[in-house]
């Protein structure tokens, strides 16, 4: 293999004399729609390179180089080609910074330096016993070093090779043979390497078709989540600031349509219902609640539903666009138990839609709390708002009951029991029971409209606990495929903010609530 690599390097060196892009060799953005196999599925190099660079450095670009160029350059290191590309790992954990000897304001360290200390890092990771967060941080760093080494060795870049009309995935150092380069050199003497690599795409497309991964390239580049966020913000602004409902409706509908396209693309690419990780559930819940709000608003002739839908939609789209540490847009293969589209598209969608419906009540109740504390509101308004909230609760609880039951039926079908007190199941029932208690209580003297609004705002904490808390805080049970990291701080902040708002707004001036008709 060494000899082969030497020959390739010589060939490359000879070629470079006539090339104008010597600093990046043949690493060009033309490679971005090359199919590669990574993470258990075929995807375009652009998607993989972006994910990998983000994972390693926290950013997709490295200086002026795109993710594809940097990934390619780093991979060529495995063939002995020098490059100036220098990647740095982001380090935030205080103990890890101390261990690496970083100054207080220095949060990055070169991977090349980390490679020299790999054994010491490994040894440190083994010696940590009680400090869980440090252990996780050092474990994550070690994984990143491993990934960096894998890319540098050329092993991470798997290209499609046609072996007897059958696709075999080969690492770059195996795929890029001397024979192929020499043969290509007769056809394109100035640049034989790029065509050899691009041939991998031609062969893959010929044998397997190209629809899905090419579609994924367009999907990844389109940035639909950002477009949807802009449209929803405009819609909300036209409603709140300019009070032009027709324009609001137009932008809201376009935003819903963009989100529908986003969901449809993910469904086509992954071949499954769009509710298999936190990113998708947040996306689906936001889209679902906006659609439900538009329908309810139309049926009930109430503009306020559109405000509620847009308000929640902004929150979900903000999370999709900015909470990248917590929600990853990566499309990955599913664990075996989830590979059932019927149950995914019934049970999970039902539960997530119900969370979306309950979120509508959360938006309105918080709005009323703020308005009651710092603005003016009449008794009639309060009753009106509580009736609107009641409507969304009825929709939310009905869908949640259906979702919980469908989950029980799926659990019975997959695991052999309808109910097992698994934390995810139990928390979905807790949410249902919390809202059922509120719905029942509303008809007693205990929960009057004013208190009903406050309680509804607080009750959404149970939804957040069931949705995020079980995955990020409890992290136990049979639904372990949904567990992830990085959300505990978000959830803690959410709880803190909501509880603070409830406390601050609990002491409002009663005369702010004017009698009906005034």
């Amino acid at each position: 293999l060494k000899n082969l690599i030497k020959k390739i390097v010589i060939l490359l060196a000879l070629s470079l004399t006539s090339l104008s892009f010597a600093d990046t060799y043949f690493c060009k953005n033309d490679l971005e729609n090359l199919p590669i196999l990574q993470g258990g599925r075929v995807k375009p190099l652009y998607v993989h390179a972006s994910e990998v660079m983000k994972n390693l450095t926290g950013k997709s670009k490295v200086g002026d180089l795109s993710a594809v160029e940097s990934f390619c350059m780093l991979s060529l290191n495995g063939m002995g080609l020098p490059s100036d590309i220098k990647l740095s790992a982001r380090v935030d954990h205080v103990d890890l910074m101390k261990f690496l000897g970083l100054a207080k304001d220095q949060h990055s360290i070169l991977y090349e330096d980390l490679l020299l200390r790999e054994e010491a890092i490994k040894s440190e990771a083994r010696m940590i016993k009680d400090n869980e967060s440090y252990k996780k941080a050092i474990g994550k760093l070690y994984d990143s070093i491993f990934l960096y080494k894998e890319i540098k060795s050329g092993e991470n870049w798997l290209l499609a090779a046609n072996i007897n009309n059958h696709i075999e995935w080969q690492p770059l150092i195996v795929y890029l043979t001397e024979d192929k380069v020499i043969a290509q050199k007769t056809l394109t003497p100035d640049d034989p390497f790029l065509p050899v690599l691009l041939k991998s795409k031609t062969e893959f497309d010929r044998l397997n078709g190209n629809a899905k991964y090419e579609l994924e390239l367009y999907y990844a580049k389109a940035g639909l989540a950002s477009w949807a966020l802009s449209l929803t913000i405009i819609a909300l602004a036209t409603l709140v600031l300019f009070r032009n409902f027709n324009i609001t409706l137009g932008f809201a509908a376009i935003s819903a349509l963009v989100q529908l396209v986003l969901i449809a693309l993910r469904v086509t690419i992954s071949g499954r219902a769009p509710v298999t990780n936190m990113y998708e559930t947040v996306l689906f819940s936001g889209f679902g609640s906006l659609t439900l709000a538009l329908i309810l608003g139309h049926l009930k002739k109430e503009k306020i539903f559109v405000y509620m839908g847009l308000g929640y939609n902004v929150c979900t789209l903000m999370m999709l666009n900015f909470a990248n540490g917590m929600l990853t847009a990566t499309i990955s293969p599913l664990v075996p138990v989830l590979r059932d589209n019927f149950w995914l598209s019934t049970h999970v969608t039902c539960v997530i839609l119900s969370y979306g419906a309950l979120a509508l009540s959360w938006i309105l109740s918080n709005t009323v709390l703020i308005k009651r504390k710092w603005g003016t509101i009449t008794k009639k308004d309060e009753l009106y708002y509580s009736n609107i909230i009641y409507t969304t609760l009825k929709w939310g609880t009905t869908m949640l009951a259906a979702g919980v039951i469908l989950g029980g039926v799926w659990a019975d079908y997959s695991w052999g029991r309808f109910w097992g007190w698994d934390p995810k199941e139990t928390w979905s029932l807790i949410v249902l029971m919390t809202y059922m208690a509120i719905l029942h209580g509303r008809h007693t003297s205990w929960i009057k409209p004013a208190r009903f609004i406050t309680i509804t705002a607080g009750a959404f904490l149970s939804v957040m606990m069931a949705w995020f808390g079980v995955n990020y805080i409890l992290a136990t049970g049979l639904h372990s495929y949904g567990f992830s990291e990085g959300g505990a701080i978000f959830l803690g902040s959410f709880f803190l903010a909501q509880i603070t708002l409830l406390i601050v707004t609990s002491n409002y001036k009663k005369d702010a609530i004017l009698p009906a008709g005034e």
């Binding site: 258990g40 009951a401 039951i405 052999g416 059922m436 409890l474």
Partner: protein, 553 residues
């Protein structure tokens, strides 16, 4: 005499069927569940079940909900058209409750593990039992252990065995205990505690060859590539001999040993250059091929694994790191010197330097007769990634003829009482299926280019009434037979690398009722909340339905 006040049943019915009572029981139910999920997260599912979900208090709250549902419905009779949805919801809930009760009382929920081509019919259920076996009489007695979260007194007696207390979660506190049985003065039953460390880790190791040492204390332990082998002290001198053949012949009962060279036994080689030794033993001859097996072989090259005379080839332990410990001596092969080394260890003395990555070992305790024992201490368990990391011992304290004994799920108790052998175990209840199952193949597909499992599949043979049938069980595709349903639950790999499969086994007579009740609940909710109100809204047009007692389910 003061007349007893007559019970006002109407008032009770009104209260139990009221919305306020509903709010109270629903809130209590919710509170229990919240506590349960946090308990599960920190202390494991079993603890949460024992402390919350399967307690009488939680059952009472659920019963309260059931009563609330019944009385709320009866209070609103005779039927009113606008409450049809409400009746449907409450009937659905009652039917779900009844279905769940049937499952709870009569259902089966267990697991069966299938090894390749080994028929099995035994399903392991979830209840803990104490099993007392009298092997000579072929008699077995079992008693259920309480489903409690904490230490529970039992005070039950069977024959001469008094069952005193049960610890569902315990951790072992290491102690040296007196042996239960009597042994000859020169019996090799010693145990030692060592402290081992290298550049990456340090650890205390307790090794024992005492027959009463439980599964927690073995004579062989592996730590990464290094294996610790604990042998009787008497064998150490044969290791020290450094004989040319590197073969030791020893008696596994008396621990006496010698080398072929010391007895003038020639070590010959076969035509295929395999070494063998022939040992005269009584009127017979024992033939050993020590590079293949420690046991003697007969003419058909079958090993006699019952033989107490065994041969040991040191050559087999030269390639990989192996440390032989004989209480106060340690032996290892030095690749640098190409020879076996023997070092002395003194209790609480200096460490011996080993030839692997700066490793060293010291002897901290040594006992000739006492038994190493993990005394069960009640604890609150701790779980991590679904596995208990603390408190995974289930223990029962017994009193037999005035003496105290502990039995744990890791250490069954074997006793000779009044000439009778008794085996006592803490185990799980089992159920025998009316048919047998055998695994023919376990298949695990992986996502392309990764080690992530894409599917688990078991190909199973079912033997029933002389008829054999083949079945394919995988995720979301269970197998059904005679009321039992089998689900792909888990898998494991044995020491030979073969896959075993674990199937969840389930009988649920309440399933149909739960499904029917669920349907009624959902349709009732849609009817009551989403269809009814449309009509009502038309009439009321934005007025509150606040005082309508039937507006809520």
């Amino acid at each position: 005499m003061k007349k007893l006040k007559k019970i006002d049943w109407d008032n009770i019915e009104r209260f139990v069927g009221s919305l306020k009572f509903a709010v109270i029981v629903i809130s209590l139910f919710t509170l229990f569940m919240i506590v349960g999920t946090f308990l599960e997260s920190y202390y494991g599912a079993d603890f949460a079940n024992r402390a919350i979900y399967k307690t009488t208090a939680f059952m009472i709250v659920q019963f309260g909900i059931l009563l609330s549902i019944i009385f709320a419905a009866t209070l609103r009779l005779p039927p009113k058209k606008r409450l049809y949805g409400f009746y449907t919801i409450h009937s659905g809930l009652l039917i779900i409750g009844m279905g769940s009760l049937i499952t709870y009382v009569a259902g089966v929920d267990g697991q069966i593990t299938l090894a390749p081509n080994e028929p099995n019919r035994q399903v392991v259920l979830s209840k803990d039992i104490l099993k007392i076996t009298y092997p000579a009489e072929g008699k077995q007695v079992t008693t259920y252990l309480p489903f409690s979260a904490f230490k529970t007194d039992i005070n039950e007696t069977y024959d001469i065995i008094a069952i005193k207390e049960y610890l569902p979660f315990a951790e072992g506190k290491f102690v040296w205990s007196d042996p239960i049985n009597h042994y000859p003065a020169d019996a090799q039953i010693h145990s030692s505690k060592y402290h081992f460390k290298n550049a990456f880790a340090e650890q205390d190791l307790i090794l024992s060859i005492h027959p009463e040492a439980g599964n927690d204390f073995q004579s062989t332990i592996s730590m990464g590539p290094l294996t610790f082998n604990y042998y009787p002290e008497k064998i150490a001198h044969c290791f020290e001999e450094n004989n040319a053949s590197k073969i030791i012949i020893w008696n596994s009962v008396t621990a006496e040993c010698f080398t072929p060279e010391s007895k003038g036994l020639p070590v010959k080689t076969t035509g295929a250059k395999n070494r063998f030794v022939v040992l005269p033993y009584g009127k017979n001859f024992l033939t050993f091929f020590p590079d293949f097996s420690p046991f003697p072989m007969d003419m058909k090259l079958q090993t006699d694994e019952k033989s107490v005379i065994r041969a040991f080839s040191k050559k087999l332990f030269e390639e990989k790191p192996n440390l032989f410990l004989f209480g106060k001596k340690a032996a290892f092969y030095s690749k640098a010197d190409k020879s076996w080394k023997m070092v002395d260890l003194v209790v609480k003395g200096p460490s011996a330097i080993l030839p692997w990555m700066g490793a060293e070992i010291s002897l901290t305790e040594h006992q000739d007769k006492l038994v190493p024992f993990n005394l069960p201490i009640p604890t609150i368990p701790i779980q991590k990634n679904g596995t208990l990391i603390k408190g995974d011992i289930r223990a029962v304290r017994l009193e037999i003829l005035g003496k105290e004994y502990w039995v744990t799920n890791n250490s069954p108790l074997q006793l000779l009482v009044q000439g009778k052998k008794i085996v006592i175990e803490v185990t799980k209840e089992t159920l025998n299926l009316p048919f047998e199952l055998a695994l023919t193949e376990f298949k695990m597909d992986k996502d392309p280019g990764t080690n992530n499992p894409a599917s688990y599949e078991s190909f199973v043979k079912l033997f029933s009434d002389g008829v054999t049938s083949n079945h394919h069980v995988f995720m979301n595709n269970p197998m059904k037979k005679s009321g039992f349903t089998f689900y792909q639950a888990s898998y494991s790999q044995d020491s030979q690398g073969q896959y075993n499969t674990t199937l969840a086994v389930n009988v649920d007579q309440g399933r149909t009722m739960k499904y029917l009740g669920s349907l009624m609940l959902v349709f009732g909710a849609i009817w009551h909340y989403n269809l009814n109100n449309n009509n009502k809204n038309k009439k009321k047009n934005k007025t509150s339905d606040q005082n309508d007692p039937g507006a809520s389910a």
